[in-house]
Every structure is written in structure tokens, then in C-alpha cells.
């Protein structure tokens, strides 16, 4: 397996720091965390050392990943030059939030210098501290046949649109936004993003029966696919495939397995909120807030409105260092839905409530006292 130790040895990274950690079974690095590139509110991680005898400190800069995380060597080589010039020649490629980290910077000037260098290449930094973080996206339509939304396009739009909130922290805590082009969730948006944006479709999967018959005649096995449909919605009569509109839940499975089955045409995006891995209450799955809205270029009005709403509610009700998920738990999911001004629907629950412990506002009681 590719070795990180070997890689570090090819850089000016103080390998001693890692080797001592291995023998001491303890990190040699000291306090650090979200920091900022001078002139910006964000974009860097400062890191002190516990072993001044080896190295005093070592910072890194977070470069926002490209749409779809595609790179052409011509520009990437320039980024490498900057890493060599300002850093210790080691890269974190990529972080779990799809940033490219340039590591081993020693001072503010270097951070600023590298940022200017990146800017001139059309790249930028940010995504640290209590800001909107980088917005990872799956490759989507760039390479994927299943894409229900233009993930790279939206990544580009959102990053520009929210660049100030990405570079100048102003929220109670970090806001991680992740995108997947379809419910296959290559972007893992619902499970652990504060805000998830996922492509969905409402009508049924489209079956091209002629193509399907051909596919089957080539010896492909449609039966097993029908058997593995989670809701038993597929009916294959050896000539045609019927999908039961009363059963299908658009899980993508048949579409993933059978080229003759494609996602439907009534497409939009779902917005989820509250996913995260730590915070006060520990790991939480995201929750569906906007089950279906349109994501239409160039200005993505509906999407921006919904996204803003979520940020506003968080901004107004979140306590310092409280993740959105913890805030929702504190406020109550029903209250949160109300605050977001969303029409309640079955798409908002895995099951309705299990008690009658709800509050009736005077307003609901038609004046009776």
C-alpha cells in the first residue's frame, strides 16, 4: 500500500516528529486549529509543536478543491511550485472535505504569499473556523450517468456566491455542506453534512424495455435485480418490466444495475440539515428539511433561498459552538421545521410521533381560553 512515511521522506517535513510519535505512541504536535491567512478570516490551520528541539511549529493552508475535483497538470504543477516555495513540499490531497492542504508553512507572510499566488491562478483558500466550509461535490454530470443535478456547476456557483461566508467565519460553529448528484450519495451528504444537497427525482425510473430485452438476451440477470429491489416494486414478465408506482422509493438500485433503466425526468434537489459526527450529542444523521426543490441555473433562486433560510435559522438560534444537529435536537425537530417555514410532509419523518406531548399555541385554538 502506498506509504505516507515514504512520501514524507521525500519532503522537508520534519520526519522526526512522526518517528518519535511512533516510538512514544503519542503525537508530538501541540495545540492548533482553525486559523486565518492574514487579510482573510479563515483558510489556515495553525499548529504548534511539543518538540521545539525538532520544529517549533508548522501551519497549513486549505485550498478549496475544484468542481468535481478535476485537475489539469498545467495548473497543478503551478500549485506544486507554490507548495515547494512556501511549504515543506507535503500535500494533503484531499481532505475528507475535499480541500487540498498545502502543509509546512512557517509564517504569516508565507501564508499570504501562497494565497496571492493561488488567487492569481484562479484558486482560493478558506474553509476553516466557524464559516461555511468548502462544498464538496461528486463528479456528477462530468462523468456520471446517474447525475440528477449539476454538482460541479453548483459547487462553482455556491463557492462564488458564498465566498465571503467561506472566508470570513461568522456562524455559531462550522457549516459543512456536501453534495451528491443522486441518492447513491457518493458525496455522503445526508449522513454527515450540516447541510446536504442531493439530487433526487420524483417520477418513476424510466424503463426502455426494448433495450432491456436486448440486455437480458445478452445473458444479464434481471431476476436477481427484481429480487433485490427493497420494496419489491419490479415485475418482469420476460418481455416487459413494470415498476409499481405504489411501491418504488427511488432508491436507485435497479438504475445502478440495469443500463436500460434510467432515473425519471422530474428532477430536483433535496436539502438535509443536522448531520455531523461530533458536536455535543455525538454522531447524528442529517434530516430531510426540503424534500424537493428546483435547482435552476444561472441563479439557482430556490436553492439559494432554501440554503439561506437554513443558515439564517442557525445564525439566529444556534448557540456558540453548537452544531446545527445539536441545535435541532435542542429546539425540537418540529420547531425547526416550523422555523424553516416548510410545509410539513411525510417526507419529514421516518415515522410520525409516538406521543401526544405537543403544545397548542393559543393561535391554534380559535380564541377559546
Amino acid at each position: 500500500w502506498p506509504s505516507h512515511a515514504r512520501e514524507l521522506k521525500r519532503t522537508r517535513y520534519p520526519v522526526m516528529m512522526y518517528e518519535v510519535a511512533m516510538t512514544e505512541k503519542y503525537t508530538q504536535w501541540g495545540h492548533g486549529g482553525m486559523s486565518s491567512v492574514p487579510g482573510l478570516g479563515s483558510g489556515a490551520i495553525a499548529r504548534k509543536s511539543r518538540r521545539p528541539d525538532i520544529i517549533s511549529h508548522s501551519h497549513l493552508v486549505r485550498v478549496l478543491g475544484t468542481p468535481g475535483c478535476f485537475y489539469k497538470t498545467s495548473s497543478f504543477r503551478k500549485i506544486c511550485e507554490l507548495a515547494e516555495q512556501y511549504g515543506d513540499g507535503s500535500l494533503h490531497l484531499l481532505t475528507t472535505n475535499s480541500n487540498l492542504e498545502i502543509c509546512g508553512l512557517m509564517n504569516d507572510n508565507d501564508m499570504r504569499g501562497i494565497t496571492e499566488g493561488l488567487n492569481s491562478l484562479g484558486y482560493d483558500v478558506g474553509s476553516a473556523g466557524d464559516a461555511i466550509r468548502n462544498i464538496p461535490d461528486c463528479m456528477g454530470p462530468a462523468l456520471c450517468e446517474y447525475a440528477l443535478m449539476d454538482t460541479p456547476g453548483i459547487k462553482h456557483f455556491m463557492t462564488k456566491h458564498y465566498i465571503d461566508d467561506i472566508q470570513y467565519p461568522r456562524f455559531p460553529f462550522k457549516i459543512k455542506t456536501k453534495m451528491s448528484g443522486c441518492p447513491n450519495e457518493c458525496g455522503k451528504a445526508l449522513l454527515h453534512a450540516d447541510i446536504g444537497i442531493i439530487g433526487v427525482f420524483r417520477d418513476l425510473p424510466k424503463v426502455d424495455n426494448e433495450r432491456l430485452r436486448k440486455w437480458v438476451s445478452q445473458g444479464n440477470d434481471i431476476r436477481t435485480v427484481c429480487d433485490r429491489c427493497p420494496t419489491d416494486a419490479m415485475e418482469w414478465n420476460n418481455a416487459d418490466l413494470e415498476i409499481d408506482p405504489d411501491r418504488c422509493i427511488r432508491c436507485m438500485y435497479c438504475i445502478n444495475r440495469v443500463p436500460a433503466i434510467k432515473p425519471g425526468d422530474d428532477r430536483g434537489v433535496a436539502l438535509t440539515a443536522g448531520g455531523k459526527m461530533k458536536g455535543k450529542m455525538g454522531p447524528m444523521k442529517g434530516k430531510v428539511i426540503f424534500p424537493f426543490i428546483k435547482a435552476t441555473p444561472p441563479d439557482y433562486q430556490e436553492l439559494v433561498a432554501a440554503y439561506n433560510k437554513l443558515c439564517e435559522v442557525y445564525d439566529e438560534h444556534g448557540k456558540k459552538k453548537e452544531r446545527i444537529g445539536d441545535m435541532i435536537q435542542r429546539l425540537g425537530f418540529d420547531t425547526f421545521i416550523e422555523l424553516c417555514g416548510v410545509e410539513p410532509s411525510t417526507m419529514h419523518f421516518s415515522s410520525p410521533r409516538r406521543n401526544t406531548f405537543y403544545h397548542w399555541h393559543e393561535a391554534e385554538l380559535g380564541g377559546v381560553k
Binding site: L190, V200, K287, I337, S351, H359
Partner: protein, 351 residues
């Protein structure tokens, strides 16, 4: 005073018919001869017939029970039992007399049935008959529902069992244990009778409030935060000077999908799908309509042997609400303690 109590319950054998005693633990199988009539066959070859009748909600008169005793003496050697759903079963009925017994009890107004895939006896709390906390009248609604569904009690033509429970306030929620439940819902804020308040046990009242809506006030009194109160009635339980309930605001919620047995997808509590309907005695039209809608949707959609909850789990809540014609309300979304676990965390939508 001489000590009383300390007795416990009569020995098991004392109230058992001979055939039951003889075959205790030896039963091999059973058949439902006709709705309400179960024939049990023991390894010994002995058989025992039971005849099951529906019972009036919550109260029965001594006079009627004596008539039932007469029937028991005549047709089954004087033994009966009350089931876990408060049906009454004549035990060890002489097969020859079964039809006659059925004619007689039916004539007395007690339908025979409630076995297997039928509506079973309806469970209801006393409510307006004897309690101070009810937000609705369980017996009244039970009677209305029973009348509407009586054919389903007498026949076994439903997809599976149908159990309906009613509790007239949040206390019992027996409702959540049944395929369909009715739960009394208060919507007013409890009133505090300042003059008599001193008698109450203030600490109990205050820490008994699930939403911490109660604060001490003055020497003896308390104040309730109107924004926090969820109308659960706990405070009124613990203090005579706190009253809840308002004729114009009280009503009931409807739940579905409770199930205790470990078959299918296993046991689970029901879920509240209609947060409020108004009280409308004596016909209780809203209750009857809501329940019939749900039952009809289930009858139409369920596979054989599929309980309400299994049907819903199979088609999903998205479709349940559509098929039952129920509009989703904000109150269907759970915000209470475990609320988050009931929030939707997938994209498996049943549009």
C-alpha cells in the same frame, strides 16, 4: 382494627373447569369453529370449546353479570373467563349447546365473535363515567365504533386481527398498543385555583411536569409557562387545585400501528397520525369517520395475515397518509426527546 388483606389470589385450580385442569399444559392445537368459538384439542384427545362475546366498555351491571352466570351454569358447567382484552369467554361449552348459547347471548345484546381476523373486543377506560382527567369519552366512542364495525367483530374477513384501544387522556395511551388507538387530548392550559392551592404537594407537582413548565409562585402557589405546557395533565393528577380540561378545546388524537407480538416486524408502539379531532357526542362522527377511513385503506391494501403496522411498514408512511386520506400536520412530526430518531434520514421517498 384486625388485619385484613394478605390473602392474595385464589389457587389456580379453584376456578378451572375439570377439562382445563386435566389438560393443563397438554393442549395440542385449536380450531376456530366459527367466529368467536374456539375448539381446543389436547394431546389426551380431550376438547374444550370457548365462546367469546364483546363486552360493554368499562362498566357492566351486577344484574347483567348474574344473567351471564345463569347462561354459564346452563351451557358450560358454570365457568367463564375475562380475556386480556376484556372479552368474556364461556369456557368448556357443551358442543351441543353452542348454537343455543349463541342465540341467547346475542339476544341479550352481546355479539359473538372477536377471534382471529376480526375486530376484537374494544378496550376503553372509564373517562366520563368515573374519572376527572378525561379529554374525551372512551366508552362513548368505543360504543360508536363498535356499532360501526360490529359486522367485523362477527366475521373473520379482515386481512388480520384488528385491535382498537381507547384512553381518554395521555395517562393511559393504551391506544399506542393497538392497531388503531384513540387518545384524549387536552389543549387548554391548566387553571390554578389560588385559594385552595396550599394543600398540594408543590415539589411533586413541579418536578412532575415533563417540560419544566411549572415554577413556584408565592408561598404555596405555582405558575405555568403557557409556551411550554404540553397539556399532559400530570400536574392535575398531583394537585386538586390544578384543573385541566375545556369543553370547547378537548378532543382526541388517533394513532395507528401498535403491535405487541414478535411476529412479522416485531413489537412496536403505535404512531399518532391525527393530532386532534373534536368531541362530538353521542354519535362521535369524526371518530367513526377517521377510523373507518383507516380500516378501509388497510382492508384494501393489506396482504393476507398482514397487521396494520406491517402493511404500513411495507408501503411506507408516505403512502399510508395518502391512502387513508389523512393530511399531514406539523404535530405529526415528533419533537419530543426522541424526536430526532423519527426524523427522516434517507431519500427513499414514496412520491
Amino acid at each position: 382494627m384486625s388485619r385484613i388483606g394478605g390473602v392474595g389470589v385464589p389457587p389456580v385450580a379453584e376456578n378451572l373447569p375439570p377439562v382445563v385442569l386435566k389438560n393443563y399444559g397438554k393442549w395440542d392445537t385449536h380450531e376456530i369453529v366459527r367466529p368467536g368459538v374456539i375448539k381446543r384439542i389436547a394431546e389426551t384427545g380431550d376438547v374444550c370449546y370457548t365462546v367469546r362475546i364483546a363486552m360493554p366498555p368499562s362498566r357492566i351491571s351486577v344484574a347483567t353479570m348474574l344473567e351471564i352466570c345463569d347462561l354459564a351454569d346452563k351451557y358450560c358447567g358454570g365457568y367463564f373467563r375475562i380475556t386480556q382484552r376484556n372479552s368474556l369467554e364461556f369456557v368448556d361449552v357443551d358442543p351441543a349447546g353452542i348454537n343455543e348459547l349463541i342465540e341467547n347471548v346475542e339476544a341479550m345484546g352481546f355479539p359473538v365473535g372477536g377471534t382471529r381476523n376480526s375486530l376484537h373486543n374494544i378496550i376503553a377506560c372509564p373517562a366520563w363515567i368515573h374519572c376527572n382527567l378525561p379529554a374525551t369519552d372512551s366508552p362513548g366512542i368505543a360504543k360508536a365504533l363498535g356499532d360501526a364495525l360490529i359486522d367485523e367483530f362477527r366475521n373473520q374477513r379482515l386481512p388480520s386481527w384488528l385491535k382498537i384501544n381507547l384512553g381518554a387522556c395521555a395517562n393511559i395511551e393504551e391506544a399506542l398498543m393497538a392497531d388503531i388507538g384513540i387518545i384524549g387530548v387536552h389543549r387548554d392550559q391548566p387553571i390554578v385555583l389560588e385559594e385552595s392551592i396550599k394543600i398540594c404537594e408543590r415539589p411533586t407537582v413541579i418536578h412532575g411536569c415533563p417540560t419544566y413548565a411549572i415554577k413556584p409562585k408565592g408561598e404555596h402557589s405555582i405558575s405555568i409557562n403557557p409556551e411550554k405546557c404540553i397539556h399532559c395533565g400530570a400536574c392535575t393528577m398531583h394537585c386538586e387545585a390544578i384543573l385541566t380540561g375545556n369543553p370547547d378545546l378537548d378532543g382526541f388524537a388517533v394513532s395507528v400501528g401498535g403491535k405487541a407480538s414478535n411476529t412479522g416486524r416485531g413489537p412496536d408502539l403505535g404512531r399518532v397520525v391525527i393530532p386532534y379531532l373534536p368531541n362530538n357526542p353521542p354519535k362521535w362522527d369524526e371518530a367513526v369517520k377517521a377510523v373507518m377511513q383507516i380500516v378501509d385503506a388497510w382492508k384494501e391494501g393489506a396482504e393476507p395475515d398482514e397487521r396494520m403496522r406491517e402493511w404500513i411498514d411495507r408501503i411506507g408512511w408516505d403512502r399510508f397518509f395518502r391512502k387513508a386520506g389523512i393530511k399531514v400536520s406539523l404535530k405529526d412530526i415528533d419533537g419530543y426527546i426522541y424526536g430526532n430518531e423519527f426524523a427522516r434520514s434517507d431519500l427513499r421517498f414514496g412520491w
